[in-house]
C-alpha cells in the first residue's frame, strides 16, 4: 500500500508539474476566441475624429423615449427588483479567467482595460451622481466555476453583469440571469446564441458573430476570384471553429466557392499543423480559410510558408480569422504573415500611425496614468466593453423610467453607439428582435510585411455593413 501511495503521489506530482509547464497550450487554445476579441481591437487602422472628451461624453444616438422594443418583467422572479430605481451606486459584475496560466495572462489586460474605463467614467462623472462599482470574479475559463462566481456577486447585490468571457461560461449563467431579469451585457464571445432575443431577452453579446465574419470572407473571396475559387478549410475543432466553417460552407455555393478540403486542429494542440498543411498543399487550393487559435495562428502561418516554399508556383490567398490578427501574433509570424487577409472593426492602438488620433491618444494617456501602459495594446477590448456598458447605462438613466435593471436592458436593445476606438463608420447598434447583435460591421484588411519586419494593414474596400440588421 505504501508503495502504491508513493507511486500515485509521485505520478500525481509529476503530472501536475507537466500540466503546469504545458498549461500554455491548453489555455492558449481555449482562450483564443476571446483573445481574438482583444486582438480585433488592435488590427485596424482608422480615424475617428471624436476627441478625448467625446470618449466620455458620447451621447447615444437613439432617442431612449422612442425606443420600440420593450421587456416584460412580469415573469421575473422579482418584478419589483427589476423595476426598482438604482441610486447611489450601480454594481457591475463579471467573471473572467484571472488565474489559470496563459488564460489569465491573455485576459488580464481585458480586466485592466475594463476597470480603467470604469475608473475613467467615475472620474468624469459620466453617470452624474451615480458611482459605478465593478467586481470581477475569477472563473479560470472553466464553466463549472462561472455559476458560483456569478451567484456570489448576486449575493453581493450586483445590478448587472458585463464582459463575461467565453461561450460556455456565459451559457452557464444565462438561465439564472434571465430568470432574475439581471442584464447580462456584452458577453465577450461571438456565438450566435446571443441573438435569441425572444427566449433570452436579458443576454447580449459584444462581438461580431462568428458567422458574420465568415460571410465577410466568403464575399471577399468571391470578389478576388470571380470565376469561382477552390478553398481548403483549416480550423480549430471547437465551438468557435465550427461556427465559422459551418457558416462558410452554407455560403459557399452562393459565392461560387468549391470547398476541396477540410483540416482540423484540436484546441489543446500546440504542435505545428504540418500534416494538415501538407494535405492542404497537396490539393493546391486557391484559398486557405483558416480559423486557428492563439499560438496556433503563428504555427499555421509558418507551416503555410513552408508549404509554399516546397511547392513553387502555388500561392494561395490566406484568409485568417481576426482573432489572430494582432500585432503581437502577426509580428511573431514574420514574413509568413505577409499578404494574408483578415478583418476588423476597431483601431489598432499600437500602430504609430494612429497614435496621434485624439481618441487613441486619450486612451493611451489614461492607461498610462493608471500605470497600465504595458498592457494598453491589448486592453482595448476591455476598455471598449466597459465603454459600451456605461453608454447603455447612460441611455437608461436618461429614459423616463430612470436607471433600473429593466430600463438598462431596454436601452441596450434600442441602442446605437460609436465606440471611440472604432473604425470610421462602425456603429454598435441593436434594435430589439430585428437586430439582436451589437456589432456586425467589418472591413477586410490585408497585412503586408516590410523588409525590416514591420507590418501594416491595408483596407480592402469599404467597411462592410450589409450584415447589419
Amino acid at each position: 500500500m505504501k508503495r502504491t501511495r508513493g507511486l500515485a503521489a509521485a505520478i500525481a506530482a509529476g503530472v501536475l508539474l507537466i500540466a503546469a509547464c504545458s498549461d500554455d497550450k491548453t489555455t492558449d487554445s481555449t482562450t483564443a476566441p476571446s483573445t481574438g476579441d482583444t486582438v480585433a481591437v488592435e488590427t485596424t487602422v482608422a480615424t475617428d475624429d471624436s476627441t478625448a472628451e467625446t470618449v466620455a461624453d458620447t451621447t447615444p444616438v437613439t432617442d431612449p423615449v422612442a425606443a420600440g422594443w420593450t421587456v416584460d418583467t412580469d415573469n421575473c422572479v422579482d418584478p419589483a427588483a427589476a423595476n426598482a430605481p438604482i441610486e447611489g451606486t450601480i454594481k457591475i459584475g463579471s467573471a473572467m479567467p484571472l488565474s489559470g496560466g496563459a488564460a489569465a495572462a491573455a485576459f488580464a489586460p481585458v480586466k485592466d482595460g475594463f476597470e480603467a474605463y470604469i475608473k475613467y467614467a467615475n472620474e468624469k462623472g459620466l453617470l452624474g451622481d451615480i458611482n459605478i462599482e465593478v467586481t470581477i470574479e475569477d472563473d479560470q475559463y472553466n464553466a463549472e466555476l462561472t455559476p458560483g462566481a456569478v451567484a456570489k456577486q448576486i449575493d453581493a447585490g450586483v445590478n448587472i453583469f458585463s464582459g463575461i468571457i467565453g461561450s460556455p461560461n456565459n451559457l452557464a449563467v444565462r438561465d439564472t440571469l434571465n430568470d432574475n431579469c439581471i442584464p447580462q451585457l456584452a458577453a465577450l464571445t461571438g456565438s450566435p446564441a446571443w441573438g435569441e432575443v425572444a427566449d433570452y431577452p436579458w443576454t447580449i453579446g459584444q462581438l461580431v458573430p462568428y458567422p458574420v465574419e465568415s460571410a465577410v470572407y466568403a464575399a471577399q473571396i468571391a470578389e478576388l476570384y470571380p470565376d469561382g475559387a477552390k478553398v481548403s478549410l483549416f480550423h480549430v475543432n471547437n465551438e468557435f471553429g465550427q461556427y465559422y466553417v459551418e457558416a462558410f460552407k452554407e455560403l459557399a455555393d452562393q459565392y461560387g466557392i468549391e470547398i476541396i478540403g477540410e483540416e482540423t486542429v484540436e484546441a489543446t494542440d500546440s504542435n505545428p499543423p504540418t500534416a494538415q498543411i501538407t494535405n492542404i498543399a497537396a490539393a493546391k487550393p486557391d484559398v486557405i480559410m483558416a480559423v486557428p487559435l492563439g499560438a496556433q495562428c503563428i504555427s499555421f502561418l509558418n507551416e503555410v510558408a513552408n508549404a509554399k516554399a516546397a511547392n513553387p508556383g502555388w500561392t494561395p490567398a490566406t484568409f485568417l480569422t481576426n482573432t489572430c490578427a494582432s500585432s503581437l501574433i502577426l509580428g511573431a509570424s514574420g514574413q509568413a504573415a505577409n499578404g494574408l487577409y483578415t478583418s476588423s472593426n476597431l483601431i489598432d492602438v499600437v500602430d504609430p500611425a494612429n497614435a496621434a488620433l485624439p481618441n487613441v491618444a486619450e486612451y493611451l494617456a489614461y492607461m498610462g496614468s493608471v500605470g497600465k501602459s504595458d498592457v494598453a495594446a491589448t486592453a482595448g477590448a476591455g476598455w471598449t466593453t466597459a465603454e459600451v456598458t456605461v453608454a447603455i447605462l447612460k441611455q437608461a438613466q436618461a429614459s423616463p423610467e430612470g436607471l433600473t435593471q429593466a430600463s438598462i436592458i431596454k436601452a441596450a436593445r434600442n441602442f446605437t453607439y460609436t465606440p471611440t476606438l472604432g473604425l470610421p463608420g462602425v456603429e454598435f447598434k441593436m434594435n430589439g428582435e430585428e437586430d439582436p447583435y451589437l456589432a456586425e460591421s467589418l472591413v477586410v484588411r490585408q497585412y503586408a510585411v516590410a523588409a525590416d519586419g514591420s507590418g501594416t494593414f491595408t483596407d480592402i474596400g469599404d467597411l462592410i455593413t450589409e450584415f447589419e440588421s
Binding site: T4, L16, T26, A104, P147, A151, P168, A172, V236, A267
Partner: protein, 403 residues
Amino acid sequence: MKSLVSIREGGLASWALRLVAAAFVIGLVFWVPTSAGAGLISTAIEALTLMSAAMALNLILGYTGQISIGHSAFLGIGAYTTGIFVSRWGFSPWLTFPIAFLIAFVVGVIVSFPASRIKGVYLALVTLALGLVFPQLLTWKKLSWLTGGGAGLPNKDSQLQTTGFNIGRKEGQMLHFEIFGWDPFGDLRRPDNKAAFWYWIAAGVAVIVYLVCRGVVKSRVGRSMVAIRDNETAAAVMGVNLVKTKAMVFGLSAGLCALPGCVVAIKIGSVSPEGITSLTVKGAITFLIVMVIGGAGSLWGPIIGAALYVFVTEKTGEWANDDAIPALIRPLFAWAKVPPGDGIFAVLLILLMFVAPRGIVGVWNQYSSRIVRVLPRPAGAVGPAPMATAAMFTVTDSEGEHE
C-alpha cells in the same frame, strides 16, 4: 504511545463520539443551503462533486491499489450521458443518473481487463491514455451527430435548448420541486433556491457514493480489495478472484464517478470539452491529488481533501494579483501559470508524502489517538471487548482503515 483516554469500540463513549461527529457533519450539510448565500452554496456544490469523484477513485486506488489517472473520462461519460439523453432525446434528467452509471460501469469493466494484467506505472499510463483520448473522442467529427463535436451540447441540432433543469423561464418547465405536495425550495428561479436545489442533488449523489463505498469496503469484497492492494499473490492464494474483483471494482468506481458528471451537466446546462475542466485529464489529476492529500484508503480522506481543495482554491484564486499579498511573494503565485491553489496543493502533496504519507486523515488518526484511543473489538467478540484483549488490536482494522 499512551493515550489520555481509551474507549472501547461499540461502547457508550464510542457511540457518543460518533453521534457528536455525525451531528456536526449533518449540521454543516444542512446549514449551508439553509443559511448561506447562493455563492457559498455554489462553492459547496463544487466541493460535493469533487468529493464524489474522489471517493469513487478512492475505491479503485485507495482500497484496491490500482492507479487510475483517467477517471475524468468517467465523469465525462456522466456529463455527456445527461447532455445527450436530455438535449437530443428528451429524457428526464433524473433518468440519466442510472443510465450514466450503467454506461460508465460497462466502460470501467472493459478498461479493467488490461488492469488485470498490468500494474503500477503501466496501468497509470493506460488510464492516462483514456483520460487523454476521451476529450478528443468528444470532438471527433464522426461522433458529432451525438456529442455535438467541439461545440458540445445543446446545439442547434438538439431537440431541447438545455441539458439541465431549465427552471421556470419557459412554458412547461419546472418552477417548483414538490415532494408529495411539499415544496422545500420555493421558486426555483431564484438563485439561492436554485443553488439549494442543485446542492441537494450534489449532496444526494455524494451521500449515495459514500454509502456505496462504505458498504463495499466493509464487505467481503472490500476485504478482497484490501488483500489485492497489499499483496496480490497472497490474495490469489487465499481464494480471491483477482480478475473478477478488479473488474467489478473498476466498473463500480467508474459508475460512481459518472454520477457527479451528471450533476455538473445539470448545473451548467451545457456540456463541452472546453467548458468542463473536470472531464479533461486535469480533472483526473485533481481527483487524484484530492484523494491522496485527504488520505487514500480512508473513507473520509477524499471528503476532507475535496473540501480543503475547494476552500484553498477559492481563497487563493487572486493571490497573484491581490494587493493584500506582499509584493515579494505575489510573483510566486503568478510564476507557475496555474491557479495559486493548484500550486499550493502541489507543494502540499510533496510535503505530505514526506511527513504524512497517509494524508490528512492519517495525521488526524495519529494525533487524535494520543488523546482518545478507540480500542477495536476483538475479532469474533459478540459483546463488549475486555480492555486487555482489545488493546492487542490497534494497528489496522479489518477494512484496511488505519487506526
